[in-house]
């Protein structure tokens, strides 16, 4: 019983992550119609905003230690983070909250990245064939990745969550289960809440303003929307900026769960495409629903009981479900007609 509850919780959490990662993609891909293979790279850049800030905060004052030598015969160094040297206690607190602080840093950075990317590159590709969009965004993704690799190396870089939420929560005891029967890492709960909050914010923005409708209209027919006096380019740029921020935030918050490396974007790329398409092109609700659905199913498919009946099911469950859904429902869970069907 607790096992099942735990898997449900875990599935929800995974689903939250999938939904959040797919959300940024669905804004660009499902809404603007650009097959954005650089989405993973945006996610990765977000994570590296956190890495960058963390490294900035842990920048160390290096002084030569006269009493010690390294084993290879050069003088040893004494290192102390500037931030602690300068701010003492307050400095350590900042360091502790590096990840949440990164959110503040990542929002403007990702916004600028998104806008620059749209203005400088993607803008010219709205009317080009999807194939060319794939090639150019994939090229961009590789370039971004390699730049990060040159700068930060290829090895994962761990970023701790704030201490207060680094342990795990004894959720079971809240609901009257035995002690420690159901415990779950705090940070993952935070991530789940964060996903829900961001998803709601994006929904609110697109549903309660005409922005969403205009962008949808612009995607269907830019020319006509222009004839109605609307500067659709500007809106597309904003949309792209928002999507980049969403992707970036998903990345920032993911760092304590998965130590980021330059390649992490590619690993999530396929998954996020699958989630968006299973959800249905052009539907935010669909993407979110698909994210949660796939997360929960994946969680269950990994249970030993199920794996012993269908060996290997956990490895293919996402694709299997994707196939099943797409064969039964022509446009995924709730896709809109005519979006990327041709």
């Amino acid at each position: 019983m607790d096992q099942i509850l735990l898997q449900i919780l875990n599935g929800l959490d995974k689903g939250g992550a999938y939904a959040l990662i797919a959300l940024g993609l669905t804004l660009i891909f499902g809404t603007l119609g650009v097959v954005n293979f650089a989405h993973g790279a945006l996610f990765m850049l977000g994570a590296f905003c956190a890495v960058g800030l963390y490294q900035l905060l842990t920048l160390e004052m290096v002084s030569i230690d006269p009493n010690n030598m390294t084993p290879w015969g050069t003088p040893a160094e004494i290192r102390q983070p500037y931030i602690e040297a300068w701010f003492g206690e307050a400095g350590s607190t900042m360091l502790n909250f590096a990840v949440p602080l990164s959110i503040l840093v990542a929002i403007p950075i990702m916004l600028v990245i998104g806008i620059v990317m749209e203005r400088g590159l993607v803008k010219h590709f709205y009317r080009r064939p999807h194939a060319e969009q794939i090639l150019v965004t994939f090229g961009l993704a590789i370039v971004l990745q390699e730049i990060i690799k040159v700068w930060f190396g290829a090895n994962p870089i761990p970023i701790p969550a704030p201490e207060a939420v680094s342990g795990s929560a004894d959720i079971g005891s809240w609901f009257g289960f035995a002690e420690n029967a159901i415990s779950y890492p705090w940070w993952r709960l935070v991530y789940l809440l964060f996903s829900v909050a961001v998803i709601c914010a994006v929904f609110a923005f697109l549903q309660f303003t005409t922005f969403g409708m205009v962008v949808r209209a612009g995607m269907a027919d830019r020319e006509t929307v222009g004839l109605l006096g609307i500067d659709i380019d500007k809106r597309f740029t904003i949309m792209f900026g928002i999507a980049a921020v969403v992707a970036g935030l998903a990345g920032v918050m993911y760092t304590p769960i998965l130590p980021p490396d330059y390649h992490m974007g590619m690993d999530f790329l396929v998954l996020s495409f699958v989630v968006v398409v299973v959800g249905g092109m052009g539907s935010l609700t669909g993407a979110v629903a698909a994210g949660f659905l796939l997360g929960i199913l994946q969680s269950f498919a990994s249970m030993t009981e199920i794996k012993s009946i269908f060996p290997g099911i956990d490895q293919i469950i996402i694709y299997l479900v994707a196939v099943a859904i797409l064969l039964v429902r022509p446009r995924g869970l709730m896709g809109r007609k005519g979006v990327m069907e041709g």
Partner: protein
């Protein structure tokens, strides 16, 4: 048969009022095909100009150039609306200056309901007729306000396209075959609307295959052939000149 030298400023012929729209020697291309080959004309405020010619003459291309839509690409020439240099604008800027184009293929936006199609027209200023007023003129649209625009019948779509232009506060109305596919009763209705519009003093350029109907409405007419102006004069002149009608309009 009168053919006007395209270089001559037609505006000088009719002295009353300064020209409202000046199109001066515009050249436009689709990629490498040279389609609009030096078209010039002027329209005075409150006037209705009929733009006539055979299929492929370049009527649509001319209208699209004036509305500053991306294709065809206007490579040379000037377009002035009052004192505004329209040729330097993008489509949405031109629209904000009061130019409205009702495109020939209607361009109802997929995925949006009838009402949303109208809402869309009322996002950017200047805003024109209210939705209520529009639905009064076109009750059929009112009945179908929640239906997806593209599932309307052909004629209903045409109504929506006209309605969408009216929803904006327009100075210059560019109509590309507004009667196409409409039943005679509706044609009459739109004709009446256009007459009303004319009374308000709205300046209009209308492209229409049904030359007779257009000429009855219009003050002046231009005939295009092979991307060039071959006639520019009053609507009466065309109606009275069977030779001209025969040669360029085959009526």
């Amino acid at each position: 048969m009168t053919t006007t030298d395209t270089l001559e400023r037609p505006g000088t012929k009719t002295p009353e009022g300064a020209p409202f729209l000046i199109v001066r020697d515009i050249h436009a291309y689709y990629g490498e095909s040279y389609i609009v080959q030096g078209v010039s004309f002027e329209v005075r405020k409150g006037e209705i100009l009929a733009l006539l010619g055979r299929n492929g003459a370049g009527k649509t291309s001319t209208l699209r150039s004036v509305a500053r839509v991306g294709t065809p690409d206007l490579k040379q020439g000037e377009i002035w609306l009052e004192d505004a240099p329209v040729h330097k604008m993008k489509a949405h800027e031109a629209a904000r200056h009061g130019i409205a184009l009702v495109p020939e293929d209607r361009r109802i936006i997929a995925g949006l309901s009838v009402e949303e199609n109208l809402d869309l027209a009322q996002i950017a200023p200047p805003i024109g007729w209210s939705k209520e007023r529009i639905f009064e003129l076109f009750p059929r649209l009112g009945e179908r306000r929640r239906q997806e625009g593209v599932t309307l019948s052909g004629g209903e779509q045409q109504m929506l396209a006209v309605a969408r232009a009216l929803a904006r506060d327009v100075k210059l109305f560019l109509l590309d075959e507004p009667y196409e596919g409409l039943a005679p009763v509706i044609v009459q209705e739109i004709e009446r609307t256009l007459e009303q519009i004319k009374e308000i003093g709205l300046t209009t350029v209308i492209v229409e295959q049904n030359a007779i109907a257009a000429l009855h409405l219009a003050d002046r007419a231009i005939i295009l052939d092979m991307g060039q102006v071959v006639f520019d004069g009053s609507a009466r002149e065309v109606l009275d000149n069977p030779e001209l009608r025969e040669q360029y309009l085959a009526v």
